[in-house]
Amino acid sequence: MVLIFAETWNGTFKKSTLEAVQYGAACAKSLGTHAAAVVFGATTEDLAALGGHGAQRVIHVTGAASFEPLAYGQMLASIAREENAQLVVVSGTTNGKSLTPLVSAALDAPAVTNVLALPHSFSPLTVRRGAFSSKGLEDAVAHGSTTVLCIVPNAIGMAPAGTDSASIAPHSAAATGKTQLVEQQIASGKIPLPEAERVVSAGRGMKGPENWNLIEALAQELNAGTACSKPVSDIGWRPHSEHVGQTGIQINPQLYIAVGISGAIQHLAGVSSSKTIVVINSDPEAPFFKAADYGVVGDAFDVVPKLTEALRAFHA
């Protein structure tokens, strides 16, 4: 069977959770087996609805506290053992990336991270993953009776939900972690970058942090997350959490709009998996145009408000 870590965030599922469930269900179908989703802790979600994404069963660890990598790794591994799971699927969110090595270690099972597609083969398990920060693709082969797969958010397309209902079984797994949560700060009203379907990003061409209102207005019109280049985060115009690129956050949204970013190879490494790339730059020689689908040569201070206006007209 295939076991899926169905991550909750303040008790609710994210899109990445549903992607992981669909991915696990597709693997289960190929393997001729069934898929079960594991949900930890209190939730406001209708768990039976995970059936519409392909999970036949939901295992609800009702008493689990908030995310702790070691505790969750041990609980997930013990359920995987009870269920004799062939695959354990985790979405590569920040928590998912913390969990993957610990569940892999607790099961003494191989793990493949940065997974971009369904496996080519299940015997031996062969799957495509990203390597060299999007500058390369790798086919990796895992050797084990159970394999943990950590999939990249947004990389695998979502099918619309069906109407099947999953059966729900409470479970009483318990484990103690080694870290204690003191406090959490969530930036309000912002779309977290790894899961954003659209991202508007800007570089030094914006001339100063006071001009980011133009970027934010465009992002708001597109319901997009905001990001920035490395130099912009290094000089403190924007927080590090917005830095996309090889050493920042790597993203693969449906739409990436780069404003005033020249397109250094390190930046491209973090964003080149985006489905559609639009580049706005006053320099027609900016290298980013070579990696873009659409380009506008022009001054950001002129083009960005006009684009926001054109989108507003389109949405109206």
């Binding site: 969110t93 500058k135 972690g177 870290t179 700060q185 090889q246």
Partner: protein, 249 residues
Amino acid sequence: MKIVVCISHVPDTTSKIQFTSDGAALDAQGIQFVINPHDEFGLTRALQLKEAGLATQVTALIVGDASVEPTLRKALAIGADDAVRIDAKPASSNQVASWIADYLKGNPAELVICGIESIDYNGGMVPGLLAHHLGAAFVNTCIGLEITGQTATVLREIDGGKEKVTASLPLVVAGKKGLVEESELRIPNMRGIMAARTKPLAVVAPANVSANVESQRFERPTGRTAVRLVDKDNLGELVRLLHEEAKVI
């Protein structure tokens, strides 16, 4: 307190990545290798903790054959007290984590700092596996680290925000930019480079551990077709293309 900083030897971020014609491996010809950028933040933080009197020794540790030694020497030149090279060419993360854990079981450290991932194979597995093998606490995506006595207070990046957690030592953290600022990173000076030549560098033979994941082949992603330029005074056309052609809005 002793700190071990795990270092990866990776292609410089400006490298153009090519693979051998059979797709079996990276074509390293013409590539400059550097300390993995995420690890540099951890190394600097470790040195700061030592300078603040919170650590007695900072050891830089690497897994690799003799060809990675210049990268390890650079960590010494930046300020690590001593260095360890586990003499093997790893094929998978489980080998690296087992070898480092074996070494640390004989040479314990209260704090182990790794990078969130190496920018070459992007596994992101070693820090968590290592924490498991050592029975230590684990904090990933670490962007701030303070030590008081036997307790660490760690700031950790999460999707859409950050959180503060505490843990008792021993602890393994996987760090990134934010652990220190880019401007705080240290560049080796001549004195450091001279001193690095005589600092202790131990070469350790690894145990036999089989790789549980293997690379079958690598390839480069396919590029994009030529860019379609849209006139800056006709942005309605861009909106139309994004809607009708790209179907992303």
